[in-house]
């Protein structure tokens, strides 16, 4: 077993290590220098495609066929996508291992997982016209540089929407890169363009020249945490500056004439320069180290915590030695962790020094255990993982109190990591990457590689849901299996049934996409969510089933959606027939048609024989109509609809009355030159009275059979409102009133005419004496009130009045009291 520090290299005051992950990666015949290689983040798959700009020897038509090949890091071919559409300008990956292929005409093909078919989208008109020169990808999007120096950004792939960024300066872009939105202060993507001697920063809103002079810059690269930028100048220097362009952090002179092929970050504190078969590692403060032991062309695949180096024969991971590892393994380290590790070795040798060691670090033992656990996570070698965990285990057995959660978690994680790092799987994921990627997405990657069994085992081991794995398995099964539909359906259902949370809809969708409509329908039967079945049912032409399912789901949006689709597809009559038997559908059609499509509604009411509704619709149109004649016509039609049946006589009469009223009002407007249209019968009456047209008002009253009571009220209120006292006084002479006389008193009193109001008091004969006294008092006529009391011979009332009365009224009341006494 080699020493842990064997592959360490010192750069400045830091250590870096090269871990060989896999060997004999590619066919030795594969000329890697003629290929462009990109790797998915978090040690994902690697895409290779031939660099068209390179000349290569012809080796028969087979190899000449253009293709994009997807390999695992261990060199296992996952998929070969044959390519015959346009020239590829860029291939990139998203965080969830979605492959994106951009051609020079601005077409983007997005391959969701490693297996399925692509979905295309376009970068827009400009891209088509000027061509795409290159693309830079980040975890969830990319920016394309067009032939006219315009920049187009796509920030999400589930619904890609190319957005033009602010216009960039003219001039040749020597190199460029992007800062992902999550690391910029504006939270939107920023593009760094090296043009002439300087760098421009472009975002959605503006383009700013950062005013550097040292250019032109051959390479520009942003650190994984977005904080630093490295630049490679024409004179062979590497600069590192902060991403806000405020601080210059370090400088390194490569002393090489030819500019490197590639410049990438290795973690956040070192840069890797790559030439054909040599790389330079530049650490902080310009310290550097050279690696030139590669025997073939080198490709760099940067990741968040290091960089993968790919050649024909090896796949390496170059990273800064993690702190915990350094603490434990550094030569001459006296840290507690290192001592603890030593103690275990001594223990194996049965040496008493083991205990000495423990005693030495007794006070920091828990820290030592923690370090060993963490360091174990950073190891790729199973042997050293065991060694470290053993040390940790020994350490914690000595401790009285120790929380073992971290230890247990780490052992679990390591089992998973070792399993996926196995060369047949080829996911050499580091601990750091695993934490960032999350276990769920790691399982997804296994599923993408069709490693269903391992995915299941891992999920069960980590207590993760397994339904996605089954669904993916079933989808793949549907795609690739050639067995007959019935037995396939049966097999899938048998496997998937009873598993919590399994979505049959997705499987059915996959079947549908494969053109296996019958299988899709069969599978859909098993989908528990009614709503989810709907879109697919629509696609396979099961419209009425889709409608029923939509209604079942209770989601009106879905129902409406199906209805809109149905309306497009069906003749109107069968559409009506379909909704007729489904009340929810009917009401949704009705309520949406009310403000969109009244004609449809009319047809519907007609077909359904809903006369009142139809008639009301016409009435509503009459209200909307601009002029009286149109309104009257509509109402005529409305009445006509109802006339056949006896049930609606009242409404027919009302509609006719409405027309009659309009005609009256029209005439009044002509005669009186006052606006009438729009008033109700009562309002018309009131207005006629107010304007002194009693004759006309009486005609309206008889014409519309307005009751005397109502008419009296209208007349009273109209007269009072206009203060027509004379007319009111005239009324007081009447013998009978349909509404009694009290309202007259109240209304007139309310208008402030006490004198006139008092005229009505004697007419309120049905009221009690006390009430009448009150009325007199309200008019300020205490003496009249007194007379009332006197008439009733109520002495108490008189006494009470006396206290309220003043002046002459008081005297009057005194007189009345006397009179009452005398009379006794």
């Amino acid at each position: 077993m080699s020493k842990a520090t064997a592959d360490w290299t010192r750069v400045g005051d830091r250590f870096y290590r090269r871990t060989q992950l896999y060997d004999s990666i590619f066919d030795p015949d594969l000329e890697l220098e003629n290929y462009i290689v990109t790797g998915a983040p978090y040690s994902g798959a690697v895409a290779l495609y031939r660099d068209e700009s390179k000349i290569y020897s012809f080796r028969g038509s087979q190899t000449a066929k253009s293709s994009i090949d997807l390999y695992s890091c261990a060199g296992k071919l996952i998929r070969r996508i044959t390519w015959d559409k346009g020239r590829i300008v860029a291939v990139g990956w998203s965080e969830e291992e979605r492959l994106l292929v951009v051609t020079n005409d601005g077409t983007v093909r997005s391959y969701a997982d490693l297996q399925s078919d692509f979905s295309p989208f376009s970068l827009g008109h400009d891209a088509e016209e000027y061509g795409v020169r290159g693309c830079k990808f980040w975890s969830t999007g990319f920016v394309a540089l067009l032939g006219n120096n315009k920049l187009v950004a796509v920030t999400r792939y589930d619904e890609p929407r190319p957005q033009a960024l602010a216009s960039a300066p003219v001039g040749e872009v020597i190199s460029w890169t992007v800062i992902p939105p999550e690391y910029t202060s504006s939270r939107s993507v920023e593009v760094l363009l090296a043009v002439d001697g300087t760098v421009h920063v472009v975002d959605a809103a503006e383009c700013e020249d950062r005013g550097l002079q040292a250019g032109p810059f051959r390479h520009i690269s942003v650190s994984p945490n977005g904080k630093f930028i490295s630049l490679y100048t024409d004179d062979g220097k590497v600069w590192v500056i902060s991403s806000d362009f405020q601080d210059r952090l370090s400088e390194y002179e490569s002393k090489v004439k030819t500019p490197p092929k590639d410049l990438q970050w290795c973690g956040n504190n070192a840069i890797v320069l790559a030439w054909e078969d040599e790389i330079h590692l530049v650490g902080p403060n310009g310290a550097a180290s050279k690696f030139d032991d590669y025997n073939s062309f080198v490709h760099l695949l940067p990741d968040i915590d290091g960089i993968r180096i790919l050649t024909n024969t090896v796949c390496e991971f170059l990273q800064k030695v993690p702190d915990s590892t350094e603490e434990v393994y550094r030569v001459g380290s006296t840290s507690p962790g290192s001592v603890l590790l030593d103690a275990v070795e001594q223990l194996d040798k049965k040496s008493p020094k083991a205990d000495d060691n423990i005693q030495m670090i007794r006070s920091n033992l828990d820290e030592a255990v923690d370090v060993c656990v963490r360091a174990a996570g950073q190891e790729y070698s199973v042997h050293r993982q065991k060694q470290l965990l053993k040390a940790a285990s020994f350490g914690k057995s000595v401790l009285d109190l120790y929380n073992s959660d971290d230890f247990v978690d780490m052992t679990e994680v390591l089992r998973v990591l070792n399993a996926v790092r196995f060369y047949e799987i080829g996911l050499p994921i580091s601990y750091e990457q695993y934490i960032r990627l999350t276990p769920e997405r790691l399982v997804q990657r296994l599923v993408n590689r069709q490693e269903y069994l391992l995915a299941l085992k891992v999920s069960e081991f980590l207590h993760l849901p397994v339904d996605r794995i089954y669904v993916n398995w079933a989808r793949q099964k549907v795609r690739s299996s050639s067995t007959d539909e019935d037995s396939l359906c049966e097999e899938i259902v048998r496997k998937l049934n009873g598993k919590r949370g399994v979505s049959f809809e997705e499987v059915a969708h996959a079947a549908y996409d494969e053109g296996r409509g019958k299988l899709a329908t069969e599978l859909l039967e098993h989908e528990p969510r009614a709503g989810k079945q709907v879109p697919l049912l629509l696609s396979v032409g099961e419209e009425s089933v889709a409608l029923d399912k939509a209604i079942e789901s209770g989601d009106t949006d879905l129902v409406f959606y199906v209805l809109l689709n149905l309306k497009k597809k069906m003749p109107l009559s069968s559409f009506f027939r379909t909704i007729n038997s489904r009340p929810v559908a009917t009401s949704i059609v009705e309520s949406s048609a009310i403000d969109q499509d009244q004609e449809l509604l009319k047809d519907f009411y007609y077909q359904d024989d809903r006369r009142v509704d139809g008639s009301n619709l016409l009435l509503s149109e009459a209200l909307a109509a601009g002029d009286i004649n149109a309104a009257a016509d509509k109402m005529k039609m409305a009445a006509k609809l109802l006339r056949d049946s006896k049930d609606y006589t009242a409404q027919v009469v009302a509609l006719e009355d409405a027309q009659k009223l309009l005609r009256f009002q029209e005439a009044f407007e002509k005669d009186l030159n006052e606006p009438f249209v729009g008033l109700s019968v009562n309002e018309t009456l009131s207005k006629l009275i107010k304007t002194g047209n009693m004759k006309r008002s009486q005609k309206v009253q008889t014409e519309f059979k307005v009751s005397d009571k109502t008419f009296s009220w209208i007349r009273l209120r109209a007269l009072v409102s206009r203060r027509y006292w004379i007319e009111l006084e005239e009324l007081s002479k009447g013998k009978k009133s349909a509404i009694g006389w009290e309202p007259y008193f109240n209304e007139i009193l309310g208008a402030g005419n006490t004198k006139l109001a008092s005229l009505f008091i004697p007419k309120c004969t049905h009221l009690a004496m006390a009430e009448r006294i009150e009325m007199w008092l309200k008019c300020g006529l205490a003496n009249k009130a007194g007379e009332e009391a006197l008439k009733a011979k109520d002495r108490n009332a008189l006494e009470e009045l006396r206290t309220k009365a003043t002046g002459s009224a008081q005297l009057d009341i005194d007189r009345m009291i006397a009179q009452l006494q005398k009379g006794r």
Partner: protein, 660 residues
């Protein structure tokens, strides 16, 4: 451990905070200055959780109302913030995007934020108009908006007409989604109880959603945390009580007699705010806040916005009281404030006294300002309640509610029509009669209809037709066989009010308004049926004692509707009683232990489908107060929106006239 305040159990503040955070995040996602286009009805709702000044901090330059069609091109970024349920709104958006694009020279970035979710129909309509690709589309999952600590509303203004007029179940689905979200946070409602056909529909939907949730959660990779254990019954929420508004229309139609109720009747509270003429209260004390930027018309000068919520010093203690007691209370407060003021003027005070007084000064001033507002409002309301028409109307209403023969009040109603009182007042009385006696005699109804058409215009043929569709104003004969198109066969179609009035004591003659002992105080005699139904579940022994004063019967025990099943069969609509258990008994047990809430306060969520009135809220708060005293339990009210009688009949009233 002392039981912590029940308010913390369902923390409505959290909902407010989350809504604000989510909205601001969406705004932040659009870089630079932006113009915001809102639906008019959303402006107030949004104002409940975020201030305009905050929006400005997040780059909002101008605010437009969608309805005004006046979006200009002053900013490159235009954000639409709208409800996505309505295809009409979507179409308007599409048209405006097209318009701005064609008129403006610059390249605009459009974003649409749908509330509460992006709908398929919206996508389809946008696609038809060719603008789907033009806009960045996102959604703001805004469901419940807390109006108060114990009151959450979906603020779906149209849900009453949607449910009962158009029979369209959109708001049932929205309610179910909102309640489902509540369940996701607090656990399953252990028991769902309810009354009414729509309540049944809602409960069914909740159960369906629960079973679908399992699948949903796992097919959404961002929500993997839920999948491992699924939903378990809540340990803090005791039950959910769903009241379908249809079960109890009379309570909506009756004039509310609490302070808040009367404010709503007279000024119309919307989003915890009223607009009052400056003649009533005087101008606003501070320079008027420019709440919605340019969208606010300058006419606001004569109107003043008055916020009515618990931030007010006096309002919380006033709002739920019967209006009759408001005068004395305000008097007392005024006197107290005055004596405080005199204390400071007259006596020689030590510096310490002075300091304590000064420290109280801000609250004292706030109290005084609040007093001024409420005296002003109370006076204004008093003007109305003292009027002859109001007492005539109230007389009719109370007679009907108390169960007198409706024909005795017909003459009064006719007089009210002749006197040209507002149409809605008349309609409310007629509808009340129709609802309480299962329809009005055909001949009488025809005569009333004729009078209404003559008095208020023939366009109200449509109003009357809609009222019939709503089931508010129907002829008696047809009512028995009246079939709600969606209702199907479930439950009864009509309520036997006379029997129910007796068995649930809906009318109390000697009601105490000042120191209430029964929920009947909110209508000065009538105890709302909806609240009685809640009491059937939560205050069994009280209600039982009320009915069986003489017999020594023992009150019913047990949960749910137990003890009142007979009465329930006499009330229209289906009865709901569902017990929800977790998939995994261990998990729910574990959860219980984890929460450690063996004796913690329990909450009952009362959800009103189709709206709740302020009077009912007052009554439920009264019940909640009693529960809290006796058993640390409490009520949280949820609703689709707050409704009043005017708004209910307003759903039917035709607003257009014949015009030239």
């Amino acid at each position: 451990m002392a039981a912590h305040p029940a308010a913390k159990v369902i923390n409505t503040q959290e909902i407010t905070d989350k809504a604000r955070r989510d909205l601001l995040q969406l705004l932040e996602a659009v870089r630079g200055k932006k113009n915001l286009v809102l639906e008019r009805s959303l402006a107030g709702t949004i104002g409940l959780f975020v201030k305009f000044s905050t929006l400005q901090e997040y780059g909002v330059d101008k605010v437009f109302f969608l309805e005004n069609h006046n979006v200009d091109s002053s900013q490159r970024n235009v954000i639409f913030l709208l409800r996505g349920d309505n295809a009409k709104t979507v179409r308007t958006v599409a048209e405006q995007i097209k318009l701005v694009r064609s008129e403006s020279k610059i390249d605009h970035e459009f974003s649409i934020i749908w509330i509460p979710r992006r709908t398929r129909v919206s996508d389809m309509v946008l696609e038809e108009h060719g603008v789907l690709g033009e806009a960045t589309i996102s959604e703001l999952a805004l469901y419940f908006v807390p109006l108060e600590q114990d009151l959450m509303s979906l603020e779906l203004e149209s849900s009453f007409s949607d449910l009962y007029l158009r029979k369209e179940p959109t708001s049932v689905f929205a309610s179910a989604t909102a309640l489902m979200r509540l369940q996701k946070q607090y656990g399953l409602f252990p028991r769902i109880l309810g009354k009414g056909d729509n309540a049944k529909r809602l409960a069914d939907l909740l159960q369906r959603m629960r079973s679908e949730e399992d699948v949903n959660a796992s097919s959404d990779p961002s929500k993997t945390y839920l999948t491992s254990f699924g939903l378990t019954p809540s340990s803090v929420v005791e039950n959910l009580i769903i009241i379908d508004r249809e079960v109890d229309f009379p309570t909506v139609l009756a004039t509310q007699l609490t302070y808040q109720g009367l404010i709503d009747e007279n000024f119309g509270i919307s989003n915890n705010q009223i607009e009052v003429d400056t003649s009533v209260l005087g101008g606003a004390p501070a320079p008027p806040q420019q709440q919605t930027g340019t969208a606010q018309p300058p006419t606001a000068a004569t109107k003043r916005k008055v916020p009515l919520d618990s931030s007010d010093k006096l309002y919380p203690s006033l709002r739920d009281a019967n209006f009759a007691t408001i005068g004395p209370t305000l008097n007392q407060t005024a006197r107290r404030l005055q004596s405080d003021q005199q204390n400071i003027k007259q006596q020689d005070q030590s510096i310490a006294d002075l300091r304590s007084f000064v420290s109280k000064l801000p609250s004292y001033q706030a109290e005084q300002a609040s007093l001024k507002i409420h005296t002003g409002l109370a006076e204004e309301i008093l003007k109305v309640t003292r009027s002859e028409v109001f007492s005539a109307m109230l007389e009719v209403q109370q007679n009907l509610l108390a169960g007198s023969d409706p024909s005795t009040v017909h003459e009064n109603i006719e007089e009210l029509i002749a006197r040209d009182v507002p149409l809605k007042t008349v309609l409310r009385l007629l509808c009340l009669e129709s609802c309480l006696s299962n329809g009005i005699r055909s001949r009488d109804l025809e005569s009333f209809k004729r009078q209404i058409l003559q008095a208020y215009g023939f366009q109200h043929i449509l109003t009357l037709a809609d009222l019939e569709k709503l089931g508010l104003l129907v002829p008696r004969e047809s009512h028995r066989g009246y079939l709600n198109p969606i209702a199907g066969a479930a439950g009864q179609t009509a309520t036997d009010w006379n029997a129910v009035r007796k068995s649930l004591t809906l009318w109390i003659d000697d009601v105490q308004e000042t120191d209430p002992n029964d929920t009947a105080y909110v209508f000065s005699g009538y105890a709302p049926l909806s609240v009685r139904l809640v009491q059937c579940i939560l205050q069994k022994s009280y209600l039982f004692g009320l009915v069986n004063t003489r017999q020594g019967n023992t009150p019913p025990t047990g949960g749910g509707w137990k003890g009142f099943e007979d009465t329930l069969t006499r009330i229209r609509g289906a009865t709901v009683d569902v017990t929800q258990k977790g998939h995994d008994a261990d998990a729910s047990h574990a959860r219980k232990t984890l929460r450690g809430s063996k004796e913690g306060p329990k909450v009952s969520v009362v959800f009103f489908l189709g709206g709740v009135t302020y009077a009912e809220i007052a009554a439920l708060r009264f019940v909640s107060g009693q529960l809290e005293k006796s058993s640390w339990r409490r009520i949280v009210i949820g609703t689709t929106h707050v409704i009043s009688g005017d708004r209910a009949v307003g759903a039917a009233v035709e607003k257009r006239k014949f015009v030239e």
